[in-house]
Amino acid sequence: MSMTDVAARGLTKSRMMPALVVALLGLSVLFVAGHAQTQTLHTAAHDSRHANGFPCH
């Protein structure tokens, strides 16, 4: 295994977890902004949900 391979594997380890955590965070934000159906959230986000093409009500 060359040094480049070792460095690449280290990089993979260092990036995979943060990227997954950030992607999960992104999905959570999209769920709250675009999909959660509590009355208050739905009312507040109504126009934005329609304009952004999310299924609304």
């Binding site: 993979t12 943060p18 997954l20 992104g26 999209l30 934005s48 329609h50 304009a51 093409g53 299924p55």
Partner: protein
């Protein structure tokens, strides 16, 4: 790395979300307000009298429109978190990321998050007839997920089988079909529905191009400042 991802996503998401929100207030909100007059029964399509296509619409409403701006910025921050995570993973596999290439990422994001679901579940104007919201949300998430995997296969697949799989993933949700209402009973005129869907998609394309450009630019600039 975690901090760099978050910083890039927050900057790009807030910027693109603000641009999208302004375009929405300008071009989409008047159509929405117009449609709500039919949804609430103030205007009646095919009533006894001809209805003007240019009614008096509400002006800017600071609270309502402020919330819309906030939620569109939040929505684009969500998009940005997904985009930046994908960019970081692609870069470590050899992809170069900068502002110009970010535009292509933005186009892909638009196709995945907006065009793919809209092909069978067009952006809904208020008052449009629609199936159960939970079923539509499940279909939306499934379609977006399939399109995201397909985009990855098209961009980074190394064998023609990857492209075949991508085409199948893109087509499958539409072949299966989106949840549809049993009856078409929406009170909103089709002219408004069509305009709403077209403008919603057009603004989304603009928003995603700005998002890709900003995310790519900030990401490459941060790389120069602090490698990891």
């Amino acid at each position: 790395m975690f901090q760099r991802l978050l910083t890039c996503a927050l900057l790009a998401g807030a910027g693109a979300g603000l641009v999208a929100a302004i375009l929405q207030l300008w071009f989409v909100q008047p159509v929405l307000l117009h449609a709500e007059l039919y949804e609430q029964g103030t205007l009646t399509h095919f009533g006894p009298d001809a209805v003007s296509a240019h009614p008096e619409l509400g002006r800017l409403d600071p609270v309502r429109d402020g919330l819309s701006v906030f939620f569109s910025m939040l929505t684009y921050t969500g998009f940005a978190l997904l985009l930046v995570a994908a960019m970081a993973l692609a870069e470590e596999r050899g992809a170069a990321i900068d502002g110009r290439k970010g535009l292509v990422w933005g186009l892909a994001g638009f196709a995945v998050l907006h065009l793919a679901p809209a092909f069978s579940l067009a952006p809904e104007v208020p008052g449009a007839a629609a199936a159960d919201v939970t079923q539509r949300q499940i279909w939306w998430f499934a379609t977006v997920s399939a399109a995201a995997v397909a985009a990855g296969l098209i961009a980074f697949g190394k064998h023609w089988i990857a492209w075949v799989a991508a085409v199948i993933l893109i087509l499958a949700p539409h072949a299966i079909g989106a949840p549809e209402p049993d009856h078409f009973a929406g009170p909103t005129p089709p002219e408004l529905s069509a305009l709403f869907a077209a403008r919603s998609l057009g603004v989304a394309l603009a928003g995603w191009l700005v998002l890709g450009l900003l995310a790519g630019h900030v990401w490459s600039r941060d790389a120069a400042d602090a490698p990891e």
